[in-house]
């Protein structure tokens, strides 16, 4: 058992998968109805939006920055997309335009952080406010509602009868990005910048360009999540997306991505997003009075993150001790 646990924690990103399984099992023990196949399917399919948000922000977190504007980008994209769908604009036009919104927001953030050297939290706090206000101006404060059914049905579409299309695409994207970020040269730039920005500068990595790239990706993924929001929820209030950035950041941290950058994989973010998105559903199944929702969410979050950190520390300590004893053993032998 210990061996398995240790191996799981060593492999990048799988520790959050471990927590996810543990969480589901605990929920299942308390209420077996949770573990029914179609409910688990619902849980995972329902996390697609958060997955996309988490993957997007993972880029930025890897470079050691932060992006709290993704919630507002989601809101603006969702409002725009929903308006297009409601007014019958062709999807071939609507989707690229919506993604462009995210890209522009990302460019703005990236320019501020990389060229004007504004701290990323300030820059994205600012754009968060600006974009949120823009949503109000764009929607005049009203909901975008009564969307045609055909668009809402996309969330139900499945391949082979049980694999949700959106989920499949997200899994492919995640694997693709993981490969890109860990194996390709350009992909590794992100982690390099997050780990040591000056060092990266010195060895020739185009820091500013990569930072802007990370923010643009974060914006595009947030827009993508906004499109999923429209399809899944079916109506868009101007407040859509508020607070989602915190959940996405928490998902990434649970997934092993460090806020100081350079560490972690998108696979971890993937599972972390499932955890964050499922907490709400699990609470319904636990039959606790709903007033306990926030308390339990807080406790869960803290327990998972602390446990993860302690495990990591423990295995790092152990590894260090082994190296130390191996060295002294060698020295003794040589003496």
């Amino acid at each position: 058992m210990k061996q398995i646990v240790r191996k799981v924690f060593k492999t990048p990103g799988l520790s959050s998968a471990f927590f996810m399984v543990a969480l589901f099992i605990v929920a299942g023990i308390i209420n077996p109805a949770f573990l029914s196949l179609d409910n688990l399917q619902l849980c995972i399919n329902g996390s697609v939006m958060y997955m996309l948000l988490a993957i997007g922000i993972a880029f930025v977190l890897m470079t050691g920055e932060i992006d709290v504007s993704i919630g507002s980008v989601l809101g603006l994209s969702a409002a725009f997309m929903a308006t297009c769908v409601r007014d019958g604009v062709s999807l071939w036009i609507a989707i690229p335009c919506t993604l462009a919104i995210g890209a522009v927001a990302g460019l703005l953030n990236g320019y501020g952080v990389a060229k004007l050297h504004v701290s990323s939290i300030i820059m994205t706090l600012g754009t968060m406010g600006i974009l949120r206000g823009t949503v109000y101006i764009y929607t005049q404060g009203k909901w975008v509602e009564n969307l045609p059914d055909y668009f809402k049905r996309y969330t139900q579409a499945s391949v082979f009868g049980f694999v949700n299309v959106f989920l499949l695409v997200t899994i492919i994207i995640t694997l693709g990005i993981h490969f890109y970020m860990s194996k390709t040269k350009k992909g590794r730039y992100l982690a390099a910048i997050g780990d040591n920005i000056n060092g990266a500068n010195l060895i020739g990595i185009p820091v500013a360009r990569t930072q802007i790239f990370a923010f643009v990706l974060s914006g595009i993924f947030a827009s993508l999540a906004g499109i999923i929001f429209v399809s899944k929820v079916g109506f868009v209030p101007p407040t859509a997306g508020s607070g989602y950035e915190m959940k996405a950041i928490a998902a990434c941290v649970i997934g092993g991505i460090s806020l100081s950058g350079g560490v972690g994989t998108v696979i971890g973010a993937f599972f972390g997003a499932i955890i964050m998105s499922s907490i709400g559903r699990i609470l319904v199944f636990l039959k606790f009075p709903s007033e306990w929702d926030n308390t339990i969410t807080g406790i869960l979050l803290i327990v998972i993150v602390v446990a993860d950190s302690l495990f990591r520390r423990h295995s790092a300590e152990k590894a260090r001790k082994e190296r130390l004893s191996a060295r002294t053993l060698n020295e003794e032998r040589e003496a």
């Binding site: 209420n31 109000y136 404060g141 909901w143 929820v233 407040t239 559903r281 319904v284």
Partner: protein
């Protein structure tokens, strides 16, 4: 280059300030700057002209379909009668935010405020100050402590609304179901005053009229977040298999729960009802997911609130028992506060105006409303 950038951005900021002034309201900055503080027209001797009167219309929160519709009603009324009505709400429903808006309205020289209160008592101090400054205070949808406001436009007592929720569900049940139905509530949160009061009243009504019914779980909260309403909605249906009815007295929870039922293919197999705006529920009503749901005409409610604020600021006075004539609505009677709460504060100049009716929407009439 750097200086140019800085000055451009600074100018953009200042310009955006002016842009914001003309967006979304008919207030003109000239009137705010030019008007001297209106003295309290105590005995109603000075009747002010409509176009000089400035009413600030304060919802619980902005960006919510219900309150936006009420604002539409208020703005239409303002345009018709000729007074200016400014819509000022914070995207987050919080007492501190509302107090700040009230204080700011008073300092800006508003003549009246029309409020839907987040908390019945938290606004007391600021309303006291408003009254002292001569600002007229009316409430709509959610009342405050009766001492600090002149009139309240009520949609009904909590008992009436709780009953309505239960009756709408019962209307859709077969006789067998009526005997031993299972139900749950799904709304915003434990801290929202009015929704919780309706739920408490609904429970009491169920105990007396339908004793066989069982509330199988504590209420579910989705905190007015659209996405949460869907995932909580789906989990509610999954965790409580075979449930007869889900009652959602919240304008975000109801469409979310309906969409969740559709996603699970349970349209029509479970009774979903509650309060929400007809425009957000139109499709669900027509396709049978939510055949009946209710609300009251919040456009009229908003219009009445704004009008009464203007009417008081114009120097009119009333006594409990009087009739007030509201354009396009008709004569409304001012009733004593005890109509809503037997223990309420009573005074001759503090009363309640009850909305003529609440509406149950179904597929025949849902298309007729545009809010």
């Amino acid at each position: 280059m750097r200086k140019l950038l800085a000055t451009t951005l600074a100018t953009a900021m200042i310009l955006s300030a002016f842009a914001g002034c003309s967006s979304g309201s008919t207030t003109s900055t000239a009137s705010a700057a030019g008007s001297t503080a209106a003295p309290a027209s105590a005995a109603g001797t000075v009747k002010k002209d409509a176009k000089d009167i400035n009413v600030v219309f304060i919802p619980k929160l902005s960006g919510n379909a219900f309150f936006e519709s009420a604002n539409v009603g208020a703005q239409d009324m303002a345009k018709k009668v000729g007074f200016s009505c400014k819509y000022d709400g914070n995207p987050q429903a919080s007492v501190a935010n509302q107090v700040q808006i009230i204080n700011s309205a008073v300092t800006q020289g508003a003549d009246a405020v029309a409020i839907s209160a987040v908390d019945p008592n938290g606004l007391n101090e600021s309303l006291k100050a408003a009254k002292a400054a001569g600002v007229k205070v009316v409430c709509w949808d959610s009342d405050v402590n009766n001492q600090y406001r002149s009139l309240h436009v009520a949609q009904g007592t909590p008992e009436q609304l709780g009953q309505m929720l239960v009756d709408m569900a019962a209307m859709q049940m077969t006789d067998a179901q009526k005997k031993n139905a299972t139900f749950v509530f799904h709304y915003s949160s434990a801290t929202v005053a009015d929704q919780n009061s309706w739920v408490v009243a609904a429970r009491a009504y169920v105990k007396t009229k339908y004793p066989g019914w069982k509330e199988v779980s504590q209420p579910y909260y989705s905190e007015q977040d659209a996405e949460k309403a869907i995932s909580v909605g789906e989990s509610v249906l999954k965790a409580n298999k075979g449930i007869t009815a889900v009652i959602c007295p919240d304008s975000t929870a109801l469409p979310g729960q309906a969409q969740a039922a559709k996603n699970l293919g349970m349209s029509g197999k479970v009774i979903i009802t509650g309060f929400a705006t007809p425009s957000s529920m139109k499709n669900f009503c027509l396709d049978g997911t939510v055949p009946k749901f209710g609300l009251w005409d919040c456009k009229i409610q908003g219009a009445m609130g704004a009008y009464l604020g203007y009417w008081l600021a114009a120097g009119n006075t009333f006594k409990v028992g009087d009739d007030i004539d509201i354009p396009d609505v008709g004569k409304v009677k001012v009733q004593p506060n005890t109509v809503l709460d037997p223990k309420a504060y009573t005074a001759d100049d503090s009363g309640v105006v009850v909305l003529p009716e609440r509406v149950i929407f179904d597929k025949d009439n849902v298309g007729k409303y545009n809010f």
